[in-house]
């Protein structure tokens, strides 16, 4: 699809806004619909869109495989890390009350980082699945 000028131009215009929208969904998750899962899906969708228009090889240069694999592991670590910080600060696992002097602010801080972890992992998993399916050639099936 690299030859379709309209598609390429539209994609180039759209993708930054998609990523921006993902950040909006991520950070607005506290107050309205949204959150880490949805934001992660939108980020992945933006990159998948890029891969469809500009080709898988180009997308893999922008978001390499090692980065995808790192993301999908790092998100879980961020999530579990928040839980362990709760223990280190003298609370229970995933205890957000102790994350700040004000328990309500602590709840905000805790859910912020947990959602960040969810976003990173979901984006990573979505892209990993896409890369694995898209990168599969016919020879692989016969191997």
């Amino acid at each position: 699809m690299r030859n379709y000028l309209v598609l390429r131009v539209v994609a180039k215009i759209m993708i930054p806004f998609m990523l921006l929208y993902a950040l909006y969904v991520q950070f607005h998750g506290d107050y309205g619909p949204g959150g880490g899962f949805q934001a992660g899906v939108i980020i992945a969708a933006a990159i998948i869109f890029y891969a469809i228009v500009f080709g898988l090889a180009t997308a893999r240069r922008v978001v390499p495989d090692w980065l995808v694999e790192t993301c999908l592991a790092a998100g879980v670590l961020i999530y579990a890390g928040v839980g362990l910080v709760g223990i280190l600060l003298g609370g229970n696992f995933l205890d957000y009350f102790v994350l700040d002097r004000d328990p309500v602010a602590g709840q905000h801080r805790g859910i912020f980082w947990v959602e960040a972890g969810v976003c990173v992992t979901v984006a990573g998993v979505m892209l990993k699945i896409f890369y694995m399916f898209a990168g599969r050639r016919r020879e692989d099936d016969d191997a």
């Binding site: 999908l72 790092a74 229970n92």
Partner: protein, 493 residues
Amino acid sequence: MISAHLPVLQVVVPLVAAPLIVLLRRGLVGYVLAMAASAFVAGSALSLLADVWHGGVISYAIGNWPPPWGIEYRIDAANAFVLALLGVIAVVVAAYARRSVAAEVPAEQHYLFYAMYCLCLAGLVGITVTGDAFNVFVFLEISSLSSYVLIAFGRDRRALLASYQYLILGTIGATFIVIGVGLLYMMTGTLNIADMAARIGAVEARRPVLAALAFLTVGISLKAALFPLHLWLPGAYAFAPSAVSAFLAATATKVSLYVLLRFYFTVFGATFVFDALPMGGVLIALSVAAMFVASATAVFQADFKKLLAYSSLGQIGYITLGIGFASKAGLTGGVVHLFNHAVTKGALFMLAGAVALRLGSVRLDRMDGLAKAMPLTCAGIVLGGLSLIGVPGTAGFVTKWYLVLAALEAGSWTLAFVPVASSLLAVAYVWRFVEVAYFRPPSAEVARLSEAPPGLLLPAGALLVAVVYFGIDPSLTVGAAARAADALLAGIR
């Protein structure tokens, strides 16, 4: 400070180890982390078992939200026993995995294998420790999804098909479980298991509760491979890598049976399930069918791992038979068999893996005279086989003793003969191996083989020592199982 957080750390440590292994991308690092996580689970499980030995209950509120609003991890004698079993098996399998995985899984996938192993362990531990019905489902999915991947690591391409079959049936099972939990939530307004148990008696409409019981029974039976819902198991165990067969055979179905126990005895209550409803009779009938049909099928298997898998189905029947009696002796027999069968079948699958490593196959028709070439491996298999039969002096005997006691206590002479009669079928399938390995002259192919490496024999040997030790002096296992039975029967109403 750490000890107060052990209930949750047991889940968190393997859960954190998995992404760390993926980040570090080294097979050896993966092995070390998996081993460390397993050792941590084993150590903390044993310490928790010691803590609840005298009937205490440990409750841990995740996120400091008090139960029943938040998720509670709740440990009593029943799940502490299962937890200890998980920890011990995890360590032994991790020790075995180093050599076995090196031979069976491509080197570039080692780190993924160990990551999946940690995830599977985290899921199984999570199911066991949690006191929240929905949390059970979540961890069930974690352990199931990772075990599908672990099975697909098998070298044989049929591993993919077996894994896919398990995926379909496992997903149906998980769906039934979540529908059952949903119905219970609808009727009681709570997801906390202890709270559910307190409220379920006040529920006026019985039909949704009956539906919940039906969905949970079918769903959990699918995951536990209770006859006739066992179709996924033989393929999955036969084609998975040896370490995975040993791990899943020793833990996965056992944890599902624990979930069944928890729902029957703690949530619904034994009076409702066994007196108001004929579930005891149903379970006993299915168990007897499993013991005979699956064991008879095992006799005719050409593949040794398949033979062991069908034998597992029969042995699951012993456990559910004990549950079906719903008496102290029956439950003690059933629960102690969780452990006895886990160590026996774990050791047997490990030794089958040792044969596969040297011979390249586990087909019985290629094992002619194997005992000459691999005397220790074959002796180990025979010892494990004796425990499957239930010969006195092995762990299998202890189980059968309690099951016969429970049957006599229930006043049924016929049922007392059932475990004994099905032992004869076990004799038949164990004898098939003995006949091939000991009484036939070694083929040219077998004569060239050497004994399996110590990296495989030692872990299997450790489990066999447990088989013999707990066959001769079962006070520890039976004591723990009796306490677990007490804990389950405590809420009887």
